[in-house]
């Protein structure tokens, strides 16, 4: 097999496996929604789903695994197109929708993390809210579009997670995906892999909201930002740096040959730096 063929096969497999994971994620999400309640004692509710409800642990892990796999594959898929500079063949608007939908995918993962209702989830929700609040002038009211403090903290993230985000992601991707039902082989592979994962890998232990623990970690994709938050003001770590990165990515198809090359190089450097921060946080804590 020539290396070229291998690359082509890789390009073809990533999104198809991703689509199969998305279908499994939506399916398991619908099942979970019959037992999950975003108000009241959410931690207890999630623990009951995991330990008391028949097959609860399986569906929870299936939803977690398929969601993570879907977003990870979307990230790799985007990364591959980015590195091969395929954004040149997209119209600016198409590229914008796709990058936006990748952002929404990560937001869906994040809201899922918050909805666990354990200490990590609740803290992540609060941190997210307080970071938005640091935006000058509009931060405070805008934060209330996403999350409000108090006993209904999880309600808006829930609404985003189960309604707004899936609808928007599907809407943005609809012209990009040619066939909505993936090839049976991919669906079979994803189902088999994720079922095995859900059957044999237990969920991470959830930390009760009132337990005093010395260190709380964010979700894997925010570990780098968590490290940055220790070093630089929240407006820069949480809004400025990710915002500039996203702006660079969105500008790519509009930039000319020379400027485009510079932005490309800058984005690769930033990505590598962020990946290093994440690996460091994995090994030594954020």
């Amino acid at each position: 097999m020539s290396p070229e063929m291998h690359i082509n096969r890789f390009s073809r497999y990533l999104p198809r496996l991703g689509l199969a994971s998305l279908l499994l994620c939506i399916g398991s999400g619908i099942i979970l929604s019959f037992q999950y309640r975003p108000l009241g004692n959410v931690f207890r509710n999630v623990e009951e789903i995991t330990t008391l409800v028949p097959f609860g642990r399986f569906f929870r892990q299936l939803h977690y695994g398929s969601g993570q796999l879907f977003v990870l594959l979307m990230l790799l898929h985007t990364l591959e197109h980015f590195l091969k500079r395929r954004y040149r063949s997209f119209s600016g608007l198409q590229w914008t929708w796709l990058i936006l939908s990748l952002g929404l995918c990560f937001f869906a993962l994040f809201t899922g993390y918050v909805l666990k209702g354990d200490k990590e989830g609740l803290f992540a929700g609060n941190i997210f809210m307080n970071i938005i609040k640091t935006i000058p002038f509009v931060g405070d009211p805008v934060s209330r579009f996403f999350i409000v403090p108090g006993k209904d903290l999880l309600f808006l993230p829930y609404l985003y997670h189960i309604l707004f985000l899936p609808v928007l992601i599907v809407f943005f991707l609809k012209d990009h995906i040619r066939e909505w039902f993936p090839d049976r082989r991919f669906l079979f592979a994803a189902t088999a892999g994720l079922f095995l994962f859900a059957l044999f890998i237990p969920p991470r232990l959830d930390i009760p909201p009132n337990a005093p623990v010395p260190l709380v970690e964010g979700p894997w994709f925010f570990l780098g930002i968590q490290t940055l938050l220790k070093l630089i003001p929240p407006l820069w770590a949480g809004v400025g740096v990710p915002g500039l990165f996203a702006a660079g990515l969105l500008l790519l198809p509009f930039a000319g040959e020379r400027l485009g090359r510079w932005i490309h190089l800058l984005l690769v450097t930033c990505f590598c730096f962020y990946a290093l921060l994440t690996i460091r946080a994995f090994l030594f804590g954020p």
Partner: protein, 133 residues
């Protein structure tokens, strides 16, 4: 483009933008409205006399014979701080800010001290602390 067509387009655009703005303000105001909430945390008589007590997001701290109520919300990004008995400090588990017993910032990314909350002594000796958020 003829002058008349240009004027027509111009007016149409202005009309479109102003009606969009006119509509977006009520939406913005509706989405971002929030009532200010208050809740009370009551410490029983004698609580906090021996050492630091924690209840429902509030630390009751005895400082120089007086009681001080501190919000447990870290002033950096809102995580709940823990009290480290050995170091006699408050520590934030999220980004590592540290505060002394009376809530003053010692180290870390937080810039402000822990928020002091109003205390009301009730006739039966209980202490009522009010949190607004």
């Amino acid at each position: 483009m003829e002058r008349r067509t240009f004027l027509k387009r111009f007016l149409e655009t202005i009309l479109f933008i102003s009606s969009a703005l006119l509509f977006s303000y009520p939406v913005f105001a509706f989405l971002s409205f929030r009532k200010i909430s208050r809740r009370q945390v009551v410490f029983k008589k004698g609580e906090g006399a021996e050492g630091i007590e924690f209840k429902d997001g509030v630390f009751l701290v005895p400082v120089d014979g007086k009681l001080l109520a501190l919000s447990a919300r870290c002033t950096h990004l809102g995580c709940t701080v823990n009290y480290d008995q050995v170091a006699q400090q408050f520590r934030c588990p999220c980004h590592g800010s540290r505060f002394d017993r009376s809530g003053r910032r010692i180290a870390g990314p937080a810039r402000k001290p822990l928020r002091e909350l109003p205390i009301k002594k009730k006739s039966n000796g209980d202490v009522e602390v009010t949190i607004t958020f």
